[in-house]
């Protein structure tokens, strides 16, 4: 069968054709909203019109069959309108209040999970992992599933002082939101890469490889028509691998993950913050990564017990001090947590004010 005529540079379809009529009518004229349950909220327009939203958990990696199921439900209760969120949850947009409870019932019967709105834990922003990426040193989807199974009560019902944003990145490229999340997992290598020198000259650009190294550990090796890596300076970021296939850094026994905490992107109360390293290394333990999950749950429980209402994890820690965070959580403080890169001068304690 002949293919249709291709078109270029048309961009995405105009979003306006996908907006439900109640949104078109009240576009830019919303008055307020209320969170009704952790999975539902209502927005009220200046016109008095109401729009109910039901938020549903998604594993982000979806089969077309499941997307069709989303569509069937949207057709039954929402005139075919639905959307996805910036954290990859699914949202059903209901303009007829009579359909709200039947929709929730059907979602429940079909096994969909509703929640994530308000001071809760919602979906984990994550990356490709072993499902699709060449530089992954852990699996993102498996980690996320393991974390959220354990933390599920916080998605569906259990309240926290404020929302806790979780993220997973399967290497230090940190695609997604690891560097600015309340608690995040970033996969790390821990060994200096090896180089298949005979392939270097055919597959890599020397200046690009040298320029890829944050610590300038790479220098030319003219005899081999390749490069050499200074093991004292290499911190295994893997960026040289990204630009040069004959460099090999994956190591199943040494690859693992680190845990960072205290980041946020919004400006509420305090400015956006980077997440900071607290646990430097946990081995990869597929399929459930039990130690990673236990560490995250532990940090959340200590936060829930100690933080003031509305405090995000980073705000709580800055109020009590990092030394108190380590003593409250019992997390061992290690050399790895002391910055020896870009931010060192900003991260040392230049005062004698600290707690015992």
């Amino acid at each position: 069968m002949a293919l249709p005529q291709r078109k270029t540079d048309i961009g995405p379809p105009d979003y306006k054709q996908f907006l439900p009529p109640v949104i078109q009518k009240n576009y830019g004229n919303w008055k307020y909203h209320e969170v009704l349950t952790p999975g539902t909220m209502v927005h009220v327009g200046e016109t008095g019109d109401k729009l109910w939203t039901v938020r549903v958990a998604s594993p982000r990696l979806l089969s077309t069959d499941t997307i069709r199921e989303h569509c069937d439900i949207a057709e039954k209760y929402c005139d075919g309108y639905l959307r996805y969120t910036t954290r990859n949850n699914l949202e059903f947009l209901v303009s007829d209040e009579k359909k709200l409870e039947p929709l929730k019932k059907e979602l429940k019967d079909r096994g969909f999970k509703m929640g994530g709105i308000g001071p809760h834990i919602t979906n984990v922003v994550h990356t490709q992992g072993w499902v699709h990426c060449h530089s992954a040193c852990t699996d993102a989807s498996g980690l996320v599933k393991s974390m959220m199974d354990e933390l599920y009560d916080y998605f569906e019902s259990k309240k926290l002082p404020n929302k806790v944003r979780l993220a997973v990145a399967c290497c230090v490229n940190m695609c997604g939101a690891v560097h600015c999340s309340d608690i995040a997992v970033v996969a790390v290598h821990t060994k200096v890469p090896t180089i298949t020198h005979e392939n270097f000259k055919n597959m890599c650009e020397l200046p690009t490889v040298i320029g890829s190294c944050p610590t300038r550990a790479i220098s030319p090796d003219p005899a081999k028509k390749s490069v050499k890596i200074n093991a004292e300076k290499c911190m295994y970021c893997g960026n040289c691998f990204t630009v040069c296939p004959p460099i090999s850094i994956k190591d199943p026994e040494r690859d693992g993950v680190a845990i960072v905490v205290g980041g946020k992107v919004n400006s509420l109360r305090s400015n956006p913050k980077f997440s900071k390293l607290v646990i430097p290394y946990i081995s990869n333990e597929p399929p459930r990564w039990p130690k990673v999950v236990a560490a995250i749950k532990h940090i959340i429980e200590i936060y829930a017990k100690n933080a003031k209402k509305h405090e995000r994890i980073g705000e709580w820690i800055e109020r009590i001090g990092w030394e108190r965070f380590f003593s409250l959580t019992g997390i061992e403080f290690t050399f790895q947590a002391i910055d020896d890169f870009t931010f060192m001068r900003d991260t040392m304690r230049t005062s004698s004010t600290f707690k015992w």
Binding site: L3, Q5, R6, I10, G11, P13, Y15, L19, I23, Y27, G28, W30, H33, H43, L51, P59, L61, L62, S63, T64, T66, I67, R68, C71, G80, Y81, L82, R83, Y84, T86, N88, L93, K113, G129, W130, H132, H134, D139, K145, S146, M148, D149, V172, N173, C175, A177, H179, C213, P214, K250, D251, D255, N266, S267, L268, R269, P286, P287, R288, H310
Partner: protein, 408 residues
């Protein structure tokens, strides 16, 4: 189809959170590629290492990006993932869909690809996960003829994305959906044919809540704000007072301490408010942004590679955001021109500004220095002066001698 024994990933079908393994197996029922992806992943779990070959350069004619090529090292063992390329489709602003549109996307994908997707990629694209090189042109013809274009990859403008904005939020200060669509259309060439030193991302948030995380995930972060007073409905404040300790939860948590509450009336000294959104988000019925609306333009955020992570910082404290968005489009073009002149290969714009200095960047885009751009002035005295700067200081001093009045 081969039947794979998958004890490790089967464990990830248990538990309350929706399972990606279940999704993969659903697609695997009648799709060879998805079936082999399941077997392939189990192998990764059993050996604790990935098996995707390095890189992969594939695409469609006329474009330099949009498809992420991927090949398995284990193509003989898992022929269905020997080729497993990802197609990025440009999502509609705000991720709104109709079931009709989504079903059409699914039908085409089932015909050519693995039946697996990501809804959505972190940048925003609708990600179609896994197809063969020879299908790419057909996939592109099928989608583009129905109004769907590819998203972006490589050293190009990546797919812009935004928060839900006026679609369903009372706090938005401009039309994030409209701006994102307009910028995406304006810069189609920059998206599809990589011409930059490295990637460049744009994200649009309607307020400082930053629901699309623009300050952390975009080279250009467009964050809505206002100039004027927060509107207070004191009747609603009274309602909140019934269930909320307004002094503890609102007034004392205000970062600039510009609020007061005497048990009856809430007052705000708006001149001292930094518009952090805390009070507004906690009392949605009582407080709303007011006055002139627009956005703050921040530039530079990126992940750690190479020089360390950056958050975007303020470049233009306030800009109007109204169709046809000419001022913002011109500003973006000026930023790119300066970046293009000064960047080395694979240098993000934030890294180049760090290297060349804010002055070079601000002068190139025609923005004056303003205290809103910094957290604090520099601490060291290693200061550059141009001949013109000194001449200007000298001229000012000469004038002061004449008038007998200092001008600092």
């Amino acid at each position: 189809m081969k039947k794979y024994d998958t004890p490790l990933i089967d464990d990830l079908e248990k538990g309350p959170w929706p399972s990606f393994v279940t999704e993969m197996k659903k697609a695997a029922k009648n799709n060879e590629m998805a079936n082999d992806a399941v077997g392939h992943l189990e192998k990764c779990y059993s050996t604790k290492v990935g098996y995707w070959k390095h890189g992969g350069i594939v695409g469609v004619l006329g474009y330099g990006g949009g498809v992420i090529g991927r090949y398995s090292e284990l193509g003989n063992e898992f022929p269905g993932v020997a080729h497993f390329h990802t197609v990025r489709l440009n999502q509609p602003s705000g991720f709104f869909y109709t079931s009709k549109a989504l079903k059409e996307i699914c039908d085409i994908w089932d015909k050519y690809g693995s039946g697996l997707t990501n809804m959505h990629g972190s940048t925003g694209d609708l990600v179609l996960l896994g197809c063969r090189t020879e299908s790419l042109e057909a996939i592109f013809a099928e989608y583009s003829s129905r109004g769907w274009d590819l998203g972006s990859s490589g050293s190009a403008l990546r797919t812009p994305s935004c928060c839900i904005g006026p679609g369903r939020c009372e706090w938005t200060n401009y039309d994030t959906l409209g701006l994102t669509y307009a910028l995406t259309q304006e810069f189609q060439d920059e998206m599809h044919r990589p011409a930059f030193s490295y990637k460049f991302k744009i994200k649009a948030s309607g307020c400082a809540c930053d629901c699309v995380a623009s300050i952390a995930r975009a080279d250009l972060s467009i964050i809505g704000t206002w100039k004027g007073d927060i509107k207070i409905d004191n009747d609603e404040v009274k309602n909140y007072a019934k269930t909320m300790d307004i002094n503890a939860e609102i007034v004392n948590m205000c970062p600039t301490q510009c609020m007061s509450y005497d048990g009856k009336e809430l007052e705000i000294n708006n001149a001292e408010c930094s518009r952090c959104m805390h009070c507004i988000t906690r009392m949605t019925k009582a407080l709303r942004p007011g006055g002139e609306r627009g956005a703050t333009l921040c530039v530079g955020s990126k992940a750690p590679i190479v020089v360390g992570s950056l958050l975007s910082w303020v470049i233009v404290p306030f800009i109007k955001v109204e169709p046809p968005y000419t001022e913002i489009k011109d500003m973006i073009r000026k930023m790119w021109e300066w970046w293009d002149e000064n960047a080395k290969p694979r240098e993000r714009i934030g890294e180049v500004i760090e290297m060349k200095g804010m002055r070079s960047f601000l002068e190139a885009i025609g923005v004056p220095p303003q205290p809103q751009q910094i957290k604090e002035p520099r601490k060291d005295p290693f200061i550059f002066y141009t001949e013109d700067d000194i001449a200007a200081y000298k001229a000012k001093e000469a004038e002061e001698k004449k008038t007998g009045k200092y001008k600092f």
